[in-house]
Amino acid sequence: MSAASTPAAGAPAGPGVVTEAGRIPSPVRAFGRLFGAELRLVLLRRRNLLLLAVTAVFPLIIGIALRLSAPRPQGGNGAGVAFFNQLSGNGVFLTFIALSTLLILVLPVVVAVVAGDSVAGEAGYGTLRYLLAVPAGRTRLLAVKYGVIVTFGLCATFIVSAVALAAGAALFPVGPVTLLSGTTVSLAAGLVRLLFVTLYVAVAMAALGAVGLAISTLTEHAIGAIAAIAIIVVTSEVVDSVPQLAAVGPYLPTHWWLSFDSLLRAPVDTSALLHGLLSFAVYALLFCSFAWARFTSADVTS
C-alpha cells in the first residue's frame, strides 16, 4: 500500500527514506509502534486495571472458601466438578477450578469490555475519525485493535492461572499431579499441562474477542456492544445446557470452552481439544471477516 509513490513533494518513496520530518519507519516497525501505544493505553486504563484486579481476586476467594470448607467428594453438579475432588490433595487443581468457574461469566465479561469498547469506544469519543484521518488505515487499525483484544484476554487468563497457582500452593499441599483419569504425573509435567490449559482458554477468549470486535463495529455505544457480547455468552450457555437443544450445542460459541479438561487425562483426548480449537478458529475467522467487511465499508459518522 505504501509502495505506490507519487512524484509530489513530501510523499514517501518507501521505508527508510529521510524527509524533513525524519526517517520513515518500516511498515513492521510502524505497526509495532501503533500496537504498543494501543496496548499500553488499554492495559494502563484504570477501568481495565480494575477488571484485571477483580479477575485476580476471584481465584483467591475461591481458594480460601474451599480451604475453609471441608472437601465434599459428592458435591456440585457443574462441568468443572471433577477438579474439586482433587483439590484437597493438590493445590495445582485450584487453577483448573478457578479457570472453569471464571469462564462462566467473569473472563468473558472482562474480554467483552475491551472488545466491545475497541471500535465503538473510539466512535463514541469521536477519536475514530481522527485516527482514520491520520491515516491509521482501516484494516491496519482493526488488526491492531484485535491484537490488543487477544493480548488482553491472554493477560487476564494468565493472571487467573498465576494467582490460582500461587494461592493453591499457599493453601494446599503441592506435589505430583494425579490426573482425572487416575494416572499420576510429576509436578513439572502437571505445570506444563496447566500452561496448555491456560493457552487453550486464552484461544477461546480470542475467539470471543472476534465476536466482540464485530459487534463493536456496528455501534458507537461501547456499553451496548459490551452488553450484547455478555448476552450472547449467557444465551449460548443456557442453550447449551438444554438437553432438547443438544443438536446445536457443538456450534455454540461457548460449547468447547471447558473441554480443556481433556488435557488433564492420560492419554489426552485430542478429539475434543481439536474440535474446540477448530470451533474457535472458525468463530475468529468468521467474525474478524465480518468486522473487516463492515469497518472498511461503513461511513464514519461519529
Binding site: P7, A21, G22, P25, A37, Y125, Y130, L131, V134
Partner: protein, 330 residues
C-alpha cells in the same frame, strides 16, 4: 495543461489542485441528498473559505474528502491522489480538524497527540517528542501539555485539535468550523494561526458558517446551499457578482426614476422621504458609467442632492446565495 515532456509532467503533478472533486454526491440511506454533485477546485497555496449555513453539507463533504464517508457517486482527490482509495498514501500530507476536537478525556494533551502520531505509519518515532512539543508550542498549549484533556477549556480543546493537524509538515490543512464555540479572543488567535499556516505555503481549506470569519483571511471561497455549491472562485470574483446600485437623493424621486429607466438602468425603485432621510430613486448601475448618469439627471432638471454608487456587502451576497436564516431545507 497537457504535458509533453517529462519535467513538465512532474510540474503538473505538483501543481495538481490541493482539492478537487467532480460530481461529488452523498445520498443518505433515508434518501436525503446531503451533498449534490459538487465540483470543488481548491488551488494550491490558496486559503479557501468553504461557506454555508449549518446543515448545508459542508461537514459531509469534508468527511468524503478525508475518506471517512464514501461518496454515493462522483469522485474526489486530495493533492492529486484519488480519495478514498488513496487515503493511506496521501492523508499524512494533510492535517485536519473535523467537526470539533475529539480526544481521550483521561489522557493529557501531549499523550493524546502522541497517540495520533503513533497511528501515522510514516512518522518518525525518534522525532515524535520534538514534533509534539513544536505543535503544542505553535498553538500556545505548551504550558498545558501535561494537563488532562478533560480539564481543558473549549478553546484549548479546539487548539489541541489544530495542533494534531500540525504534527508534521503538511501541504494541506482542512479545518472544519475551527472557531466553533470560541470567544472573540480565541477566534482571533485561530485566525492568526491560519494566516501563519498559509504564510508557510500550506493550502488551507476552512469551512465556516460565519462569513466575517472567512472574509478576512480567504483568497478563494466556495458557497454551499442545501448540498449544492452555488458559488466558487476567488473572493474578488464573488464581490463582482454583486450588482452595484446607483442611488439618487432628490426631492422628485419619480422623475429621477424615469430618467434612470430611460438611460436603460434596470430595477428602478423609489423610496419616499422618511424623517431626516431624503427621498431616493435607485437602480442597478449595470454597464452605465456613473458620471454619465449623474450628468443626464442634471440635464433633465432633477435637483440632485446626493448621488452614490454602492456595491452590496459580502454579507448581502452571502445571504443572497444561501438564503436568509431558518430556511435550511431537508
Amino acid at each position: 495543461m497537457t504535458a509533453t515532456t517529462a519535467p513538465a509532467a512532474t510540474d503538473t503533478a505538483t501543481a495538481a489542485p490541493a482539492i478537487s472533486s467532480s460530481g461529488l454526491t452523498k445520498r443518505f440511506r433515508g434518501g436525503q441528498v446531503a451533498v449534490d454533485h459538487i465540483d470543488l477546485a481548491v488551488p494550491q497555496g490558496s486559503v479557501y473559505g468553504f461557506l454555508g449555513p449549518n446543515g448545508s453539507g459542508k461537514t459531509t463533504t469534508i468527511r468524503m474528502l478525508l475518506g471517512l464517508a464514501f461518496p454515493t457517486t462522483g469522485s474526489a482527490a486530495l493533492l492529486g491522489v484519488a480519495m478514498p482509495d488513496g487515503a493511506t498514501r496521501v492523508l499524512h500530507r494533510v492535517g485536519s480538524l473535523v467537526e470539533g476536537p475529539a480526544f481521550y478525556p483521561f489522557l493529557t494533551g501531549a499523550d493524546n497527540l502522541a497517540r495520533y502520531d503513533a497511528a501515522d505509519r510514516t512518522a518518525d518515532p525518534a522525532t515524535a517528542r520534538a514534533r509534539i512539543q513544536a505543535a503544542l508550542d505553535r498553538v500556545g498549549l505548551l504550558a498545558a501539555a501535561k494537563k488532562r484533556y478533560r480539564n481543558y477549556s473549549l478553546g484549548m480543546k479546539q487548539r489541541l485539535a489544530i495542533a494534531s493537524g500540525l504534527l508534521r509538515p503538511r501541504e494541506l490543512i482542512i479545518l472544519d468550523e475551527p472557531t466553533n464555540g470560541l470567544d472573540p479572543q480565541g477566534t482571533r488567535e485561530v485566525r492568526a494561526l491560519i494566516r501563519q499556516i498559509a504564510a508557510d505555503g500550506t493550502t488551507v481549506f476552512v469551512s465556516s458558517h460565519l462569513l466575517a470569519e472567512v472574509e478576512q483571511i480567504c483568497t478563494h471561497v466556495g458557497v454551499m446551499r442545501t448540498g449544492a455549491l452555488v458559488f466558487q472562485g476567488p473572493l474578488p470574483e464573488l464581490r463582482r457578482t454583486g450588482a452595484a446600485r446607483v442611488t439618487v437623493q432628490t426631492a422628485d424621486p419619480e422623475a429621477a426614476a424615469k430618467v434612470l429607466t430611460a438611460l436603460g438602468l434596470a430595477d428602478a425603485q423609489v423610496t419616499a422621504a422618511e424623517g431626516a432621510t431624503a427621498a431616493e430613486a435607485a437602480a442597478i448601475l449595470g454597464d452605465a458609467s456613473p458620471e454619465k448618469v449623474c450628468a443626464e439627471l442634471v440635464q433633465a432638471g432633477i435637483g440632485v442632492r446626493g448621488f452614490a454608487v454602492t456595491a452590496p456587502s459580502l454579507e448581502d451576497l452571502f445571504v443572497g446565495l444561501t438564503g436568509e436564516g431558518f430556511d435550511v431545507s431537508g
